[in-house]
């Protein structure tokens, strides 16, 4: 497993380290603002966020609705750009990159998992997982092998030919996680990945995340539920577009252990 999610980014020539002296942070956010101009009014979704995430961290972002969590995640995921401030990803200032380079980062450095799964319907689990490898120009023989590998990793080795509509919510989210992992990203970004799942399935998903984190993958996760956030190593609380709390989680529980003590759905 360790080899699977291994960080391969050093080989990527596209990323030129901007400030080599600045330590080893994968993500560095400096005074990031994001505002939406709605004609009359201006919505300030982010009002000066600073954050540093080191390799191998597992961060849970919490906060009330509308506090700017998704906005922040979209910026981390290179889907959106800050109005002002800096986002340095592995030593590279993202604002200096063109659209094509941003697409390559989304494709190879970042893995995205959404609340709503966002799988292509009428496309099998295997093909959904394969999708990022197509854009990565992966060799044809490698694509399927790699996709099968990650599907097995998330425990869906026997559901590869199924369509999303034939899978449960938890299984669909596993497919989405496999898709996020297929190109061996350095960072996994998940915006409320358990938002649509029951509590047991949520913990199962967190077990996968913890295992991935153990193998060295950096994870940033947004969640509403403190129960879910406790599985992370660090929690960050947003309020009104700013960070209010940023604390390490002392002795966070292992999802695998929690699962053992949880009643199965049948017993409810």
């Amino acid at each position: 497993m360790a080899t699977l999610v291994q960080n391969e980014l050093n080989a990527d020539v596209m990323m030129k380290p901007e400030r080599p002296a600045n330590g080893s942070a994968v993500i560095q956010v400096q005074d990031v603002h994001k505002s939406y101009d709605l004609g009359e009014t201006k919505v300030h979704a982010l009002r000066g966020v600073d954050m540093k995430i080191e390799p191998g961290e597992f961060v849970a972002i919490m906060g009330s609705s509308g506090s700017g969590k998704s906005t922040f995640m979209n910026i981390l995921g290179c889907l959106d750009k800050p109005t002002s401030g800096k986002y340095i990803l592995e030593g590279t200032d993202v604002s200096s990159l063109d659209k094509k380079q941003l697409a390559a980062i989304r494709n190879r450095k970042l893995g995205f998992v959404f609340q709503g799964f966002n799988l292509l319907s009428r496309t099998t689990a295997l093909e959904n997982v394969e999708l990022p490898t197509l854009y990565a120009q992966t060799e044809k023989s490698m694509r399927q092998a790699r996709s099968k590998e990650v599907l097995e990793l998330v425990g869906l080795g026997d559901r590869m030919g199924h369509f999303p509509s034939q899978l449960s919510g938890g299984q669909q989210q596993r497919v989405a996680i496999a898709r996020a992992l297929v190109n061996k990203p350095a960072i996994l970004l998940a915006d409320e990945p358990t938002g649509n799942l029951d509590s047991r399935t949520s913990v199962e998903i967190m077990q996968i995340f913890q295992d991935l984190n153990d193998s060295g993958l950096t994870i940033v996760l947004v969640t509403h539920e403190p129960d879910i956030a406790q599985f992370a190593k660090r929690t960050v609380v947003f309020r009104d577009g700013k960070i209010r709390h940023d604390d390490p989680v002392s002795n966070h529980p292992r999802a695998a252990e929690v699962l053992k003590s949880m009643p199965t759905v049948d017993e409810d």
Binding site: L79, K99, K100, R106, F112, N118, L119, Y135, A136, N183
Partner: protein
Amino acid sequence: MDFIAILRIAIRALTRNKMRSLLTMLGIVIGVGAVIATVGLGQGAQEQVQRQIASMGTDLLFISSGSVNKGGVRLGGGATKTLIYDDMKAIVQQVPTAALAAPSSGASGLIVADNQNWSTRITGTEPQYFDIRNWSFDRGVNFTQDDVTRAANVVVLGATVQQNLFGRADSTGKTVRIGNLPFLVVGVLQAKGQSGMGQDQDDGVFVPITTLQKKITGQDWLQNIMVSATSQEASYAAQAQITSLLRDRHRIRPGQDDDFSVRNLADVAQLADESSKVMTLLLASIAGVSLIVGGIGIMNIMLVSVTERTREIGIRIAIGATESDVLRQFLSESVVLSLTGGVMGILFGIAASITITKVLGWSILIAPIAVGAAVVFSMAVGIFFGFYPARKAAMLDPIEALRFE
């Protein structure tokens, strides 16, 4: 993304909505089919015209009474009565490039045989007319120069007239009536088919010129003279020489318009060729318009498709598709649509032209250029009309696209 993968995705997206794809392609199918059919038919017609004119002989010259302006429009044709039999004699004697000449005047009339009758064209001429026109006899013989001298009541029937009055029966030696005069049928011509102008050349009868003039029309002037030049190359020289000879004989002063016209069949061939080309072009461009309409149909469906699949596009961009990946994906869908439509249109057009040519009895001509152009053109339609929707897809904001319901 590699080409095969893009193509696979496109084909899969299109087969997901088979009926819709098929209906969208229909415009292109009809457009391409119509272009292929009209170009094929036009070329077939052109070849037909050429063959007929060649069969008449491109060394032929037509002299008509009345002048013709530069555009080929007859001004007061037949109004002048200055073209006479002696003009013809003079041409044969004085124009070295003229081999044979025959007068030809016409009238229309009713031919009656027993209880059958047939309205047709009556041409008055001389025996050498059939040599000039390279026309042989199916039955019987030609009338003679002696018949001409005597203004005898003899007639040669065209194949259509023979068919309508006598069917398969032998008509030679029988008597037919033209007006109230009895005529002896001496010969029947072989069928020649339609002329380059679409006239049935076999629908007519031929009598000595003198008989026509004295007994039927009462005209003592000639409507036309047909001349064969010694060779095709000589026909242009003959045209010039005849013109100057006739101007001389008709005492036309320099600067004054001719009161006759000399047309060279080589020119006529060219004219017919050009007019059928123009016709083909016209029809093909009308058909081409339906290609554009088909293209708009593709654009419409692609726009619908982009809207329907906004979320899919958002997902693709979020997982690393570049603008050009998305652009190529949608562009290839519209090209697959239009190209498939184009190929179906080609098959449809070929089938249509085979059917039509069979009905008309023409030889089938499917122009490889038209087929090639149809392929290129339908592809161009796909690219052109697919570009805007594809660009719209490529430019989508991933966050908004992912939020799209």
